[in-house]
């Protein structure tokens, strides 16, 4: 399946784009999505250990599964305020 991933802040800068489409084998976990992200976009690898993933507007853990129509966002630790 293909999933669209939105990127923000340093993730967007490193990738050079604000969104990517990843091809994953179902069922795919967030952990597998991160691995595929690193394969598809090697520039993001330094960020992977700290990368946060949101589906919709909720943070998700590495064990959770993603669906083809999931609204996925990946970004570094937040620094607002």
């Amino acid at each position: 399946m293909n999933v669209a991933v939105r990127l923000f802040a340093r993730a967007r800068k490193l990738a050079g784009t604000d969104s990517l489409v990843l091809t994953l084998t179902e069922p795919a976990s967030v952990r597998q999505l991160k691995e595929r992200l690193g394969e598809t976009c090697p520039a993001l690898r330094p960020l992977l250990p700290q990368l946060l993933v949101a589906v919709g507007t909720d943070y998700v853990t590495d064990d959770m599964l993603v669906a083809a129509n999931s609204d996925i966002a990946c970004f570094p630790p937040v620094s607002g305020g």
Binding site: F8, A9, R10, K13, T57, P76, V78, G80, G81
Partner: protein
Amino acid sequence: MVRLTREPIDYAALTERVRSSQAGAVVLFLGTVREMTAGRRTIALDYEAYPEMAIIKMQQLCDEASTRWPITAAAIEHRLGRLELGEISVALAVSSPHRADAFEAGRFLIDRLKEIVPVWKQENWDDGTTEWVHPDSTMTAKLAMQSPSHEEADGRSETN
């Protein structure tokens, strides 16, 4: 009452939004652009957000504060884009019948905002370099703690 804006924050108007005859106390917090950080000089900060999620998370924080303290109202506004030294990046106001609750809820709101609301800042240093600010994430640690495999491994579970 939460908002993202690219315009200067009107913190007096924000404060007015939480004032009430039910409240005996109003606490206002402003986050402002600081010039010196660990000996380095900043000339400006650039803020960006994942806006849809940031709004939801800020509203969730206000809702959570309302369940934990008897507050009358809470409002948060975060600015995005380029901010010069001294400008206000975030403003939050909390009202409550008595001051202790307003102070505690306000502290909770800004501390949690910095942990979970998807907003990022980039430093523009005076030597011409730029640098994204990405603190060691408490969220990364908490999400790792929440994973079932981790809980089995060390017997701990998330307590917030």
